[in-house]
Amino acid sequence: MNEGRKEIFQLLIIVTGIVFAIKLFFIQVLDNRYAQMADSNAIIRQTEYPVRGLITDRNGKLIVYNTPEYKLEVLLKDVTDFDSAKFCRVFGMSREELRATFKAMKARKEFSPYKPTLFLDQLSNVDFARVQDYLDEFPGFYVLARTTRAYTTPALANALGYVSEISKSQLEANKTGIYKQGDYIGQSGIEAFYEEKLRGTRGVRFKLRNVKGIIQGSVENGAYDTLSVPGEDLVTGIDLDLQLYGEFLMKGKAGSIVAIEPATGEILALVSGPSYDPNLLTGRKYSSNFKLISSDSLKPLFNRPLMAQYRPGSIFKIAQAMTALQEGVITPETRIRCDRTIINCHGAHSNEDLRGAIANSCNPYFHQVLRRMLNQGKVNDPYEDTRIGLAEWNKHITSFGFGSPLGIDLPNEKSGLIPSPAYYDVAYRNRPWKFSNIYSIAIGEGENLVVPIQMANFAATVANKGFYYTPHIVKAIGNARLPLPKYRERHYTSIDSSYFRIAADAMQAVVESGTGQYRARLKDVIVCGKTGTVENNPPLFDHSVFIAFAPRVNPRIAVSVYVEDAGQGARAAASIASLMIEKYLFGGTKRPHIEQYVLAGHFEDPKPQ
């Protein structure tokens, strides 16, 4: 039954061969349309660059937009002899530069005379108008339009990041094939984190050219063209007025301000001082300015709110208090004598309860609290007991988001440090350690390291009575009008909600009758806050820290302020934090003397040497 079947397959092979030969005869020999199309090379392919997504603030105010710029491409095989003197005049370059540009172009790996290659980058808008009239005298050269970034204000530079041409190493590392040499890519900040949303999709246009290389129009009325798809717009949670005010206050200071809306985790302001004007890093000016900015000794590119890891100081006492309450080693009524023999203190107080200890920032109190927490007597060995206590302590403290990156939507977020038993094993090289070795973590000194955004997030967590949304800068992406899914999840701490009420009470006392009463109290709203003064090496002043949220009921803003080398927390940081709250809640300050005090910047008398 299978006889004859082998012939069927043989026949199929032969017929296929013949069909191909005939089809080829048609397109290669009979139809000379294709040959003409190829000979004249009548069609060229032009990339249409997508417009990058816009970035606005929470009230719809534009922060980042695009401005047109033009670049010159060359298809070398079409270039005929041209008047190079005139070319140099039109494009404003010297003969040597022209020669060097040609040479550099040909040296590029992917260069080919058969495809359009980048010749001159970033002709400005003005240049373009001038150049256009002369273009038909230089066959083989084409002008392509694309856009660069522009910024409405000099604010928010570090959070926005910048956009520049993709580097060689990035191009090689990126396997998606989306990028080509000369493409723009977000290099830091929002521009880098949301690159995929912002970049859009490239389009292609096919253009007909005549023999002289002049473009005649689109091919088949654009039937083959793909339009570029613009990138998605981003709405940030930033309040641009508040941001600008924060940068105004931080002028001449090093440090950071972070403001968060507790109910959503949206970042209202993210100030890093010193900063730079983002308009310096756009378009043609990018490379020369980048060198200047990145080599600046004040490190304006260092994004302090996310990258600076500071000892938190006394603001940490709030977290200590709640951890101790949760562990049951103290109650709000617990009184501890202010014994200044082991650890120093300040101000006149002697035997406070928890609220009084926080309001006066009593160091011996919290030294004693940590001792009770770490040495709960679960085992007899004091070393082992400290280990168990520290592990428990670490679990509670890290549940506030300390000790690891929060996962904000900006690159390069640092983790800070909350010491664990394993950490001290390494630090003490496996020699035994116990409470008396490590007690300075009690008051936020010692090994603790916290990033400013974590401080603000902590304030927001207290404001929320026990949970936080991961702080994020973008509140709505494109048409979805939603942030990324991970920013819509609540994170609960390991502390009972009732203890947060006690913490908030104490923070209210700080501002009304404690260390913060002179500069953080506001007439029209209840502010809850905590000062911190972080030791610094003389002759430098201490670092000034303040966290706060307001109003007490239904809090709308949580703030952390960290001012390096500015002395007591009750001065620089408390002033700035309260001004930020005032600005956000009421649109401006009624306390010009405090604003003056901050702007003047003389927070401490020089220390006696």
């Binding site: 082998k6 069927i8 092979i13 191909f20 030969a21 290669q28 190829a38 080919s112 495809k115 094939g177």
Partner: protein, 423 residues
């Protein structure tokens, strides 16, 4: 074991065709990357041609290995090789190196190999082994089901890697089954379904088709004998076809990925293609068409360099042949393929057992599928399906897999006198 003069028994005609095609392929790969102003040599390792020469060198090692190994080995390890390849394919989506969105590669340094290429000859061995086993009958439903499972498994696993082109290659085994006695009914149904598929795409509104089918069914009922069984069969058949049409619409819009939809749509109407696949076919045709009768000459092509035609040195290598060597050169290459395929069939028919013969047919079927689909797509007769042209396309994995496929056959053929008739 009886010592034999192996080189004397090898089919040198096939080897000659193989060598000629591999060398022509290599020269063409050089032509694609050739740039007059740079003038790099064909041996430059930064060029595809330089690397292809390394791949060819490795192929010689593979050939040597295949010829040295005892011929009974291939029969013995067929299932093991098959099983191993299936396991590798199964884990590819998790461990494979991601290239262009697909995890089809195993990375070894800067080179990578594609297990899906090697799955072809593993499947060929397994299918041949099964068909050659004692008591195998093509008309036995159970045997048929196992055969389909043998080719269905690699197809499914490769589809998981989103490599539709390579998965489709396995349908070529139907030719082998047909040769060994499978009822042509399945093939006819398959071809009809494909025709219906295309027809559905061509007709803008499927209600026209439904109407036409209803009319045909009515006419058949009226014209023929009025027996209940016959009428019922016609009605059910008609409804089935309508169902197929509806499902085609569903498949096109909901199952196929956008790029696959576009490739099919581009074939039917290149002008209506929004995403530029029609452009690929048109550019490919311009390149081939501009070659004319005698071609522009070796290294003189302009269209097939760089951006004009995509995937120039792999899937669209035939464009370079068409442009630089013209109709004459193209027909010679096609002639080489036809000659090789017919020779493989000849070798197959002179085998004395079903294992060897089925294997030969599997080899021919796989080569034929690649040849027909690849050239078909570059001249605009088939949709753009990314599969290589054997021996011509750039790439180590495909060259090695095709080489192994062919030389195992030659090894078996050289020992055909020794291999016992099994049935």
């Amino acid at each position: 074991m009886r010592q034999e003069n192996i080189s004397g028994n090898l089919d040198w005609l096939t080897i000659g065709l193989y060598g000629l095609m591999v060398i022509l392929g290599w020269l063409n790969i050089y032509a694609v990357g050739y740039d007059e102003s740079v003038g790099q040599s064909i041996f430059t390792l930064s060029l595809n041609s330089g690397r292809q020469l390394l791949f060819i060198g490795a192929s010689l090692v593979i050939i040597l290995g295949i010829i040295i190994i005892d011929v009974r080995f291939y029969d013995a390890v067929a299932y093991i090789v098959y099983g191993l390849l299936m396991v590798i394919l199964l884990v590819m989506p998790f461990f494979g190196k991601e290239v262009g969105g697909n995890r089809a590669w195993i990375g070894i340094g800067s080179f990578g190999v594609q297990p899906s290429e090697f799955a072809k000859f593993a499947t060929a061995l397994a299918v041949a082994k099964y068909m050659g086993s004692v008591g195998f009958r093509m008309d036995n439903m159970r045997n048929q089901a196992i055969l389909f499972a043998l080719i269905g498994l690699p197809m499914a696993l490769i589809l998981l890697q989103k490599d539709t082109g390579t998965a489709l290659v396995f349908s070529s085994f139907l030719i082998v089954f047909f040769r060994e006695g499978m009822s042509p009914f399945l093939i006819i149904v398959g071809v009809c379904a494909a025709a219906l598929f295309i027809l559905t795409l061509l007709v803008p509104n499927q209600w026209y088709l439904h109407g036409a089918i209803a009319i045909v069914v009515t006419i058949l009922i009226v014209m023929g004998r009025k027996k209940f069984r016959r009428i019922a069969l016609l009605v059910v058949g008609g409804l089935l076809i309508m169902g197929v049409i509806e499902s085609v619409d569903y498949v096109i819009t909901d199952v196929l990925k956008p790029h696959q939809q576009n490739r099919i749509k581009a074939l039917i109407n290149p002008d209506a293609d929004p995403l530029g696949y029609g452009w690929n076919v048109t550019q490919s045709k311009i390149a081939i068409g501009s070659g004319g009768f005698a071609g522009k000459g070796f290294l003189q092509g302009t269209q097939t360099k760089f951006d004009f035609v995509p995937e120039q040195s792999t899937d669209f290598i035939f464009c370079t042949i068409g442009e630089e060597e013209g109709w004459l050169g193209s027909v010679i290459v096609i002639g080489l393929f036809v000659a090789l395929l017919l020779r493989i069939l000849y070798l197959g028919e002179r085998q004395k057992n079903r294992f060897a013969r089925s294997y030969a047919y599997s080899v021919a079927a796989i080569f034929f599928f690649h040849f027909a689909v690849n050239i078909g797509m570059t001249v605009g007769l088939f949709p753009v399906i990314g599969i290589p042209l054997p021996f011509f396309s750039y790439g180590g994995s495909s060259l090695w897999a095709f080489t192994a496929l062919l030389f195992i056959l030659l090894k078996i053929d050289a020992h055909r006198g020794q291999m016992l008739q099994r049935i």
